[in-house]
Every structure is written in C-alpha cells, then in structure tokens.
Symmetry: C2
Subunit: 655 residues, 2 copies
Amino acid sequence: MDMLYDCWLAYGKDDSMKWTEKYLSRLCVLCSGRVISSAVKELEAAFGRLTGNIPERISQPLSEGCFILRINDSLGAGGYDISVSDESITVMGGDENGVLYGVFRFLILASGGYPPESLSITEKPCFPLRMIDQWDNADGTVERGYSGASIFFEKGRPVSDMKRLTDYARLLSSVGINAICINNVNVHRTETFFITEGLLPDIAKIAGIFADYGIKLYLSVNFAAPMEIDGLSTADPLDERVKSRWKCTADNIYRHIPEFGGFLVKADSENRPGPHTYGRDHAEGANMLAAALKPFGGNVIWRCFVYNCHVDWRDRTTDRAKAAYDNFKPLDGKFADNVYLQIKNGPMDFQIREAVSPLFGAMPDTNCLCEFQITQEYTGQQIDLCYLVPMWKECLDFDTYHGGEGSLVSRNILGAAGVSNVGSDRCWTGDPLAGANLYGYGRLVFDPALSAEKIAMEWVRAAITADEETAEVICKMLVSSRDIYESYTSPLGVGWMVTPHYHYGVDVDGYEYSPWGTYHYSDRNGMGADRTKATGTGYTAQYAPHNEEMYENVSACPEELLLFFHHLPYTYMLSSGKTLIQHIYDSHFEGAEKAEELLMRWRSLKERVPEEYYREAELRFEKQIENSRQWRDVINTYYYRKSGIDDIRGRKIFR
Amino acid sequence: MDMLYDCWLAYGKDDSMKWTEKYLSRLCVLCSGRVISSAVKELEAAFGRLTGNIPERISQPLSEGCFILRINDSLGAGGYDISVSDESITVMGGDENGVLYGVFRFLILASGGYPPESLSITEKPCFPLRMIDQWDNADGTVERGYSGASIFFEKGRPVSDMKRLTDYARLLSSVGINAICINNVNVHRTETFFITEGLLPDIAKIAGIFADYGIKLYLSVNFAAPMEIDGLSTADPLDERVKSRWKCTADNIYRHIPEFGGFLVKADSENRPGPHTYGRDHAEGANMLAAALKPFGGNVIWRCFVYNCHVDWRDRTTDRAKAAYDNFKPLDGKFADNVYLQIKNGPMDFQIREAVSPLFGAMPDTNCLCEFQITQEYTGQQIDLCYLVPMWKECLDFDTYHGGEGSLVSRNILGAAGVSNVGSDRCWTGDPLAGANLYGYGRLVFDPALSAEKIAMEWVRAAITADEETAEVICKMLVSSRDIYESYTSPLGVGWMVTPHYHYGVDVDGYEYSPWGTYHYSDRNGMGADRTKATGTGYTAQYAPHNEEMYENVSACPEELLLFFHHLPYTYMLSSGKTLIQHIYDSHFEGAEKAEELLMRWRSLKERVPEEYYREAELRFEKQIENSRQWRDVINTYYYRKSGIDDIRGRKIFR
C-alpha cells in the first residue's frame, strides 16, 4: 500500500470495502475485449489486495455473491449501470469503456466507504471527447509542471518502462478520460520528429498501454513539420507537396498505431508556425491536416489560444481578450467535421477569475471543446491549495444566451481538454491534495451536473480517508480554496500581477509594461481594464446581447468581474457598501487570514490522515501562508501608495 | 589583420606606424627574463606585421635607428620611460613589467597615429595591485557575461588551447594589469576543486601564460572547501584542522604555480559560506587564509560586498547601503598585511549612479582595493553604449575627507579590481565599443590623473581609426554615453528599476517588494530613499563629517544623488527651476532622443570605420534605441500614473 502513489485507487486503505469481498471473490465476465481485460485486471487486483487471493472466474452468474460484467448497448458509449443486490453486483457498460468506467466507479465509491445501497448508479458521459493534454517535452521537462519530471519522456525519447504509464492510464480511465495528447503543444525540435519512423515504434508502445484503458493517444504536431522533417521549402497547407507529406505521415502513424486519436495543434500563436505565414486561415490549416487523418478516423484538435504576444502596452485600444473571437468567429462553419476547436475557458489565460470566453456558443457550426488547466500555473502551482472544479463548473454552467436563454457552455461543446498536473512525483501531482483537481476534472467533464462538493467528497473519501467527519473538513478546505486564493491575489477579475514567466507570487506591475497584453492600468485614481463598447476596447460586444448588456453596464456586471470589464475609481462603491479600495484591503487581509486557517485546520487532522499526505500538504500550507502574506502586503502597499487612502479599519498597511 | 580580434593591438591597421619601421628593424635588448621575452615577441610581431620581416637583434645600440630595451631600477615597479630620438627609441622599465608596459605603450600610441614627438613619456603606476576579476564558471558560462562563453573554461575544466589566453594576457598587460583572478567569486561545486591535484596542472598552464606577461594568477576559493574537498565537519577558521588543510592547499598550489597570486574570497554574502557560520568575524576568516599563503608571498583579497539579501521590504529602517561599512569598519587594523579588502565603488551594486562607498578612507589601517564592474551588468549589457571611465574616475577622485580635505579615494587604496567584460566573442567584449571600458580600466588604474577623454581618444585611435576627425566623433560618443544611459534609466541616483535577475531593461517595481534591499519607495506624492540621519536610515553618518553634512542637507546634496539620499515630493524644486517630476520627464525624453543621435552619429561614420566594427555596433545602437524608448515611456507613464502631474511641455506621456 502506497497511498500517495495509489491516489484515489487505494483500495483497502481501510475497512470500508470489507463488504465487497463476497461479490469480488467470483467474477462472471460476459463480454470481452482489451478494455474488458483491463477491467477484469482491476477487479482482480482490488480483490487480491483485500484478501490476498485471486477471484474465481465463473461463466454463469450465481446466486451466492458474484461480480458480473456485461455490455448493454442501450447505455451508450461510455455509459454504465451498476446494480447491487444481495446476490450480485452487475456492471453493465454501453461499450467496453462503459464497463471499465463502471468497475472503477464501483471500486472508488466502495473504497471511499459509500454504503452498498448508494452504489446502484446509472451514468453516461455528457461529452464524447474527454481529453488530457500533457505539456511534456522530450527532454523530460514539463512546461508549467509542478510535480517533478515527465513520466512520458526522458533524454529526448519516450520512456521504456510502462509501469508508471499503465498506472496513469488506470487513474485517467477511472474518471472517464478517453483521449490523451502526450506531448507539449509547444512542439520543439526533437518532438517534431515524434511522427517519424525513428520514434513511432516507441510512441506506439505508449499508445497500446492507453488503448488498453480505452484512451486514444494524440500527438501535438509542428505545423512546419514538412519543412523541418522533409526539407520542403514551405508548409503552406494548400501546397500539394505539403498535403501529400501529411497524408504519408498519417498513413505511417496509423500503420504503427491503428487506434491513434489524431493531432493537437497550436498554430500561429506565441511565435509557433501556422497557416498565417502562407496567407491561409486557420480553417485551411486545420482542414488540410484533417483530410490526412480522415480516412483513418482521426481528429484534429486546433487550439484557439491565438493572440498577438507583441502588443504595445501604450496602445489601450488593443485587447488580447478579443483575440480568439476575432480570429475564429469568422470561420464558423468552415472547419471539417473531424476538426475540433479547443477554446480556453476564459479569453485570457487560465487566471483565477476571468469572464467565460465569448467564443462558446458563438460557433454553432463548428465542433468545439473547452480547455481547462488542471496544472496550477496561475493558481498556486501545487503549493497553494486551489481546488479548481468550482471554477470549471462556473464555465460549463455559464449561459451564453446564444440562441436564447439556457444555451449553457456545456451544451455548446463536444468535450473538454484538461492540461495535466501530473509528473514523476510519488503522489503524481506535487501537492497530494492537487489530486482532487485531476479526479475532479475527469468527473466534471463526464457529468457537468455534479456539484463541486460532491466530487471533492468522493475524492477525499477514496484518496485520503473514508472517515466522514475528517473527509468533511478536508472537503470544505478544498471547496473554499479557490475563493481564498482569489481573495489574496489580483482583485475582482483583473488578473495577472504575478511574477513574470514564473507565474507564482506577486509582482503587481510585472506584466504592466510588457508586450503580453495583460494590463490593470492602475493609476493614482483607479484601476481595471475598460472592455466596454461605450468607452473601452469593445470586447463586451463579443457576447450575445443579454450578456453584453450585463457586462457593459457597471451596475449589472457581476462584481467578481468588475475590474475585468471596467476601469473604476478606488472610491467606487460596491454593492457591499464598501469602496473598491476598501474591498481590496479587506479581501487581502481576510485572504491571508484564511490561508492561515487552512494550515490550522490541516493540523487539526494530523492524527486522522495518512502521514505522508499530512507532511507533504503541511509543508505546502506553510509556504502558502508566506505567499499569501507577501501578496497581501504588496497589493495593499501598492494600492495605498497609489491611492493614498487609508484602511478604514486601521490595520497595518506598510507605507 | 582581424581588427575586431586585435582590439587596440591592431598594429599596422593604417599607415600611422610607417615612421617606426626604421627603429623597429633593429632590436637591442639589454635586459632579460620571461616578461622581457614577451616584450621582444611583441616588437617582433609588430615589425613583422608592418614589414613582413623579423627585426635584426643587435647587442649594442647603433646610431642609425634601433629600438632599445633596458631596465632602470629608479623608475620603480611597473614604471617606464620611453624616449624617441633621431637615432633610437629607448624603452626603459623599472622592472621587467615596466619594460613590457613601455613597449606596449609605444606600440599603441604609434599605431594610434600619435606623432613621434609626443611619444617621449615617463609613467609609473599609481597602485601596486591592478587586477582583473573573471566571473567565469567551470561549465563555460560567465556570470553577468555579455560576450559569449568563457575563454578560460569549458565542460568543467580549464581550456587547453592557450592561443586565446595568450592574446588576452597581451591585452591586459598592454594596459598595465598585473593580476587576474580567473574564476567566479561565486565558487560552485566544480570550481571548489580547482585547488586540488586533479586540476592544478591545468591551472598552472594558464598561470604560466599570464606570468609571461607579468600577471599573477589568483583563484576564487570556497570558504567551505575543507568540508567539501576534505570532508572535515567544519570550516571554522580557528579550527586547527581547517588551518592545516589550507596550509597544505597553499603549499600544493605553490608547488604547481610558484608565481601564484593568492585567493579571492566572497564570504558570508548572498548565501555563500564564510566565517560567520562559526561565530568568527571577517578578519579571523581572512587572516587564517592569509597565514597559509604568507610563506609564499601570496595575498588574500576579501570582498566587502556583504549584506543581508533577505531584507524585509516592509522595514524602512534597514538599509543595504550601510552593510559594508557596518560589517567591516569595526575590523579596521585587524587584518593581516597580506589581506586586501575589495570594496565596490558604491555601497549598493554597480548602479549607473551611486554615492561613493563610505568605507573608502574609513579604514586607514587596512589594505583596501576598489572594485569596479567593467562588464555592463546594470549599465547596458554591452548593448547600450556606456563608457564607464568617467564614473570610475569620479570614484577615485572623490574626496572622502577622512583626516581632512584632499583624502581622495585614490589615496586610500592600494589598487583596484575590475570585473572583466571579456568572453569568447570575436571582438572579446560583445559590443566592440565596450573594448574602451577594458582599455580604460587598465589605463585609469595605472594613472587616475588621466582624463576620461584622453583615455577614450587613445583607445579609439589604436582600436578603430587614427583619423583624428573620426576619432573625435567616436570619442565624444563614448564620453557622453554614461550620461545618456543614466538620463533614460533610473533618475537621480535612486538606482535599480531593472528587470529582476536579468538586469537589462526597465521594471520600475521589479525589485520594490523583493528581499534585495533595493527600493525607491515611490508613492503618489514622491519618491526616493531617505538615508539621512535626521529622518531616514542614518546612512549619511557613515561619511566623514564634511560629506555627511553635504548628503544630509537636501540643498547641499549633489542633485545627481538626490534620490539616493532623500525622499522628495514630485513637486520638489531642483536648482534648474524644474520640479522633480518635470526633471524625470525631461531627462527621459532627452535621453531617448540622445540615444537616437548616437545611432545617427555612428551612421555618419559608416565609410570611415572598419566594416565589422560598424555592423556590430550599429546593431547595438538600434537595440539601444528600443531600450531607451521603453525606459522613457515606462518611467514617464509610471510616474504620471502615480503623480497625476502632466508634462508642462505637453509631450506624449501614455496614460
């Protein structure tokens, strides 16, 4: 038993699964396939761990306690039904993946101490595509990784030891993930060659592992690959030689990896090559690749994170938030049916608070995915606690009003992609409590109707302790953590204010005069980005009228986004009856206090959580307190120096 | 002929040396030694280059044109006398080094087109120790290097090709340098072992090269070496085992390198180990090492760059500027006679404008050196033009008033150390025009009475062109460059405002909330560090009374240092009749304009300077313009946003 490593698959960590032994001792498998084999293996391993024995395989259901696996098409792809009776437990899946998901679901809930009567469940995934994006590089580093080295690559090549990857595939499929892109969207020199003969056999081995768990492997590709690999003089997507090279590449990939998912592409963004170089648009670029993959059933995932990263900060009319919509909205309907646009949840870049991207709902004739960042680049870097499911849920539940009320983001997408927070650390995620984000991502995109609390509770009970009282405390810590992090960092949706490049810790003006398009425009009178149509950049006009009005009008604008949409004086009165400056002071004092409370609460659990969990998390809570104090004092001093306005409660603001 | 590589030793770049051929064709060498051999080689090479022949060696002076070398003790160590008559040119040196210096001096001036009648010169060095510090690491990187890789090390070892090092020794000795420390003061793991048997033979080869040119080799050592190398449990300088280890180490080094100079030590600074760890003071630490070197005539150079780099920015009473004085002044008289304290020119860290360190003159019973930074860490990084000799001269000419008027810094030190700006770039210094700083450093510390203009002129004529009109233009560019750089960067001595860690480019608040002790305290009313005794940190009290009063009193304080010593409102009226804020606007607009003028002036010389010089420098002037505009606009906008005060001349300040 290695609880940190096992994460939420720590079967038998306590007595809560005792009752399942009578069912698990006999397996009746009424279906077959490579994924079914994985489901069986998982049950065997669980039972083995509980009792030391291997379950008996039987060919017909018995009346005296057995575990039955079967397919029932009517449940749909990935859907499953678990039913628990006195005699047997039956997991039916709409397909092989459904069976596997049902098995994992049963084991996780049982291991979390949920009682037998609560385990009869029918579920099916909301979206067909539920993806994980690794930002792993061939040299073994992970871009924005805070959990050690890559588990996929080392020294320029794919790893050869498959044990860790098999366990990763187990973790992912246990929460319904069915696609993974294993290399960074920033495709450097070495990774450009992943699609060539020299490396495909190794990639294929990895693909096989994930295929065993119903997960399709994708690769990020370099749009300029025909030049870099084949020495063509162009990568123009309308050039016949270029098309032909990509067709050959696809053909070759599928010879090695019949179950290959497709390509993920970051093009014409942050200095990456793309179709714009050749005067072509994103649709022409994506469709060319899509045509190459089409015969084999592959997809192109095309990122919409396209913006000018050489903005002149002096120009207050240019607005990076407008970029994705400006670039892609005009292309609606022009993408092939195996192209999916991957749209970040917000229009900027994974800040702790942003408006929801106006692209959602605005491209009815295009396949869209929502991109979330599980790795905590801007949200605490797996040091500060930040359970992100509430934020993601806000996005999925956001009503775009395109075509009328009720047009939620979740109804306008076909799936999601989450940037992984996993690395070679023993606990996978740097902070073991960040496991909740990986688990939660999978669960939420399987069923966006789930509450963030319910997901957190499931995770805590399976991963840490089935003791309800303890789990309740940890769950509350998780659920409050995003608000706490937000309260001591940048105020009211304005974002950024982080240490440049590193993105942890405060630097209020760190990006203020940079070319990155991320400004708060604080002066001695006020702050915030004016994105209104009336007096600002006009970004609000990218929303459907209902939302446009809401954001345009300062009194209707949700207060947590006030400074994302408006430039306001420090004396602006919030609905709470506080001025903006007082809100800044209050939230920062309170945020730092609450960060201290997190540590106190964690310490109160010392005897009740596994020791390694305790120690790893405690270390981080201590660092979080330091970080929150620095944020508090820098933000408060910065705004005191700018505004000259005292805290009405007379607390210590350094001059 | 490779003018970039040859630097100021580009003999025969034009016709100006023609007249010397009659003298150079016959050499009469009336002295001998390894350094004399180098002088002869240099004359042979020069004559070879001019005529294609080797000069004839004669044993007695002739009346028909010959070049005579001899020793004349009365000229003192390093002193020389050059006399040019119709028959002969005689270079007499006070010692071998003096002869070598005289030869170089003759060749450089002749090559620069100075006429024969101006070449009869007698000079002697002002200081006995004239040192260069390399910040080169074993892995081939150079800390704060802007000129390519290390020429001393690669892949963890000293280089084996001695050609480049020989030419470096020529360049250094040609301006009177007589000591060099070849590795970074931050001694990392690999460099710690430079003093061990495995690496000493390679170091000895390098030492031999420099010894040929009268330059003693020093090594930076790790104070914790007895622990890291020998596995002792302590590096306590009073521990007998520790003393014994260092004695053995010294003994062994001198076996390999009889002419070894000694150790350079950065201790108890920026997280480096030192005597404080063991409750010992700097004198106890330095004297222990000095005792080990003493029998061999070696020295310990001990850096005074000791300060707390974990300051709390919230605490406005702690002042990094006070640190060196606080740490070392109480130890005056306690250091062994072969210990030299190396004191940075200013109390902070090589900013474009600082007060002169209050330690100078305050330690009459201690050997002191002044440390200058030739590499342009904070002063343009060999992109922006910044000729530093005027700044260094200000420091050497500064009257400390210790013991009465006229107690100049130059009279309170025994030498200087300059942090090298040299790397593997073809022109040695990144920007070829930065060669003026290396040349100028050597010349100035040989004779601080020289004017910055004279030194610049010598360098331009020898390195670029003997054409007086062209040289005049370049010389003026050089001499004005420090003021230009200062005018568009941080105002009135307040310093910093640079991109953290990188130290090029503007980030006004980059260090404002950091632990580095470098703050400008700008708020909506004013800015500057109050270092007065009356209301500030009390730093002014570290100066002799005359200077203390000058700095303490805002109206007596030199205006270029106003914000180094005082926190003042933006509306403070300067002697020019301008407010402080208006001065900031004016100097930044003018600074950026003058940066443009530098490029224009350089372009006007296109046909008159060697092509490679032209191209390399032009590229940099273009970048300097960009940099100066960014500084201008960020500083102006930052202070406009803070102060709300408009430019009275209505120029464009971005909001």
